[in-house]
Symmetry: C2
Subunit: 158 residues, 2 copies
Amino acid sequence: MMHISTKGEYGVRVMIDLARYYNKKLRSLTDISQDEGLPVQYLEQLIKKLRDADLVMSARGAHGGYQLSRPPEEIRMSEVLSVLEGALSPYACLSVNGAEVACGWDKLGSCSTRSLWARLQEAIISTLESITLNELVDSEPPAPIRVPEQQRNIKIQL
Amino acid sequence: MMHISTKGEYGVRVMIDLARYYNKKLRSLTDISQDEGLPVQYLEQLIKKLRDADLVMSARGAHGGYQLSRPPEEIRMSEVLSVLEGALSPYACLSVNGAEVACGWDKLGSCSTRSLWARLQEAIISTLESITLNELVDSEPPAPIRVPEQQRNIKIQL
DNA sequence: TTTAATCCGAGTAACTCACTCAGAATTAAT
DNA sequence: ATTAATTCTGAGTGAGTTACTCGGATTAAA
């Protein structure tokens, strides 16, 4: 359970990549995809979300690319992940901003599991809010890697 | 993201139901499903996992049913949910018991996101370990409810 | 004008989810 | 002994999600 999808994983990787080059140069998706070993066309979808949420800025045309809209220390992982993966809530009863959504049970006054999900959500959100992008950036940009095709999409069952 | 499935949700509800009747009587699945408003045949699948994990015991035949194997205060939600939903890890790099699984990136020494998922996992597991089943049980068994069919499976998008 | 890039919408194979269906095995009550 | 109530087991399924790909339009530097 509770696994994050490649949207979140790849998106965070992209953000870390951009943080390494913050205030240095624009990064094109082809560069990012080569250095991080991720499929370009899939990244296009992800970075659209990041741009719509104003976490990154883009420049079109030749020698275009992306850069962070804000310094890495002002970008919290809660923001990044909620943009990429949707609400950080483990259950429909609860939403990110505190607004509540009705479900069949709580209308009938019997949502015994609610406090469980509420506490879990609180834990998830507060940890993700406490981590900023610059904490995940190692000073040196590592050498470009190539991940073999077969080693993607690994999942643990039980 | 981070949403739990109905396996987890229903399974926790079943455990809460059984906790209410702990040391009182056996509960049949048809009773549970009627009182909680959940589909019987789906519960059969879920409770099999709970039984295999020795969280509940069963008695077959007429007037059979289920009961908790241990008192509710000795059952942690981390146990229940990992049985129902699989590992509580947000990413394949990390597993519940601390044993590590290789992924394409960390073998190449470039798993920049690892510490993020590690901290998230730590938060999730420690909160779920801190909550025992009896904390979720309200003293009085509530009146049986009937959840209208349409109101299941509600999900928030973004 | 060529080339390199972002943008955009659609399509898709594989998988997961949330169940249902059919029936066998076991036990209590009659 | 028969019936009824229950747990057990395995298989199937429609809808949705995931993790992509494909084809092309748009923009801008060289």
